[in-house]
Amino acid sequence: MLKKWEPFDEVEELLRTMDEFSKALASVFPTRETELAVSWTPSVEVYEKDDSLVIRAEVPGVSKKDLKVEIIDDTLRISGERKEKDEVKRENYYRSEIRYGSFCRTIPIPPNFDTSKVEATFKDGILTVTLPKREEAKPKTVEVKVK
């Protein structure tokens, strides 16, 4: 059967191939920038409210001083390191389910949020980052008089 030619399908296929190639490269040459190079990944949730964007990340066991929150262009980057409290030999472990070391997570920020006014709080192992909505993007109520 003949199929309709969809030029964008080919572009998408090419993008996928490029993405796979860059991931393959990143696994061979790990850097701090690639999320593949990190030892664990925190869970994240994102909420959009009328006036702000709320991002929460689970980073238990990370001290505040080992936590970094950055805005790079239009993405939010959360990175840091979880350190072991005691130096314990591997053979003295009965269970070892918690992963230590560095982590990095980037979250794209939609353009209608103001990346110059970011607030971050950290409590009980949860990092909360709040970005306000740009004034022009806030929902407005306009009263229309009915004649």
Binding site: E45, V46, K49, V59, P60, D124, G125
Partner: protein, 103 residues
């Protein structure tokens, strides 16, 4: 179920449990006979708004452990810091390694 690390030193056994988002008052550590139970309730944060992406789960963290008879269950210490519960379970005096003096 929370993820845990359990390790042993000469004097104690240490249990570390990952419980992010649990408030200290919603955390409970119980010992009954030789069973240690750790329970923490992670209550959802009230957010009025649309969830764009959600990987965080809410509910109850619960896990039980059978304690070795060499541990002194009357001297268990617990602390909670940055979403991690740390339990120190000291060994009974007679179970600690000791050096015998040669006369």
């Amino acid at each position: 179920m929370p993820r845990v690390d359990v390790y042993e030193t000469d004097e104690k056994v240490v249990l570390v449990a990952e419980m992010p988002g649990v408030k200290k008052e919603d955390l409970k550590v119980e010992v009954r006979d030789n069973l240690l139970k750790v329970r923490g309730e992670k209550k959802p944060v009230e957010v009025e708004g649309e969830e764009v992406s959600g990987e965080i789960r809410y509910g109850v963290y619960e896990r039980s452990f059978v304690l070795s008879p060499v541990l002194d269950t009357t001297k268990i210490e617990a602390s909670y810091e940055n979403g991690m519960l740390y339990l120190t379970l000291p060994k009974k005096e007679e179970a600690k390694p000791r050096e015998i003096e040669i006369k």
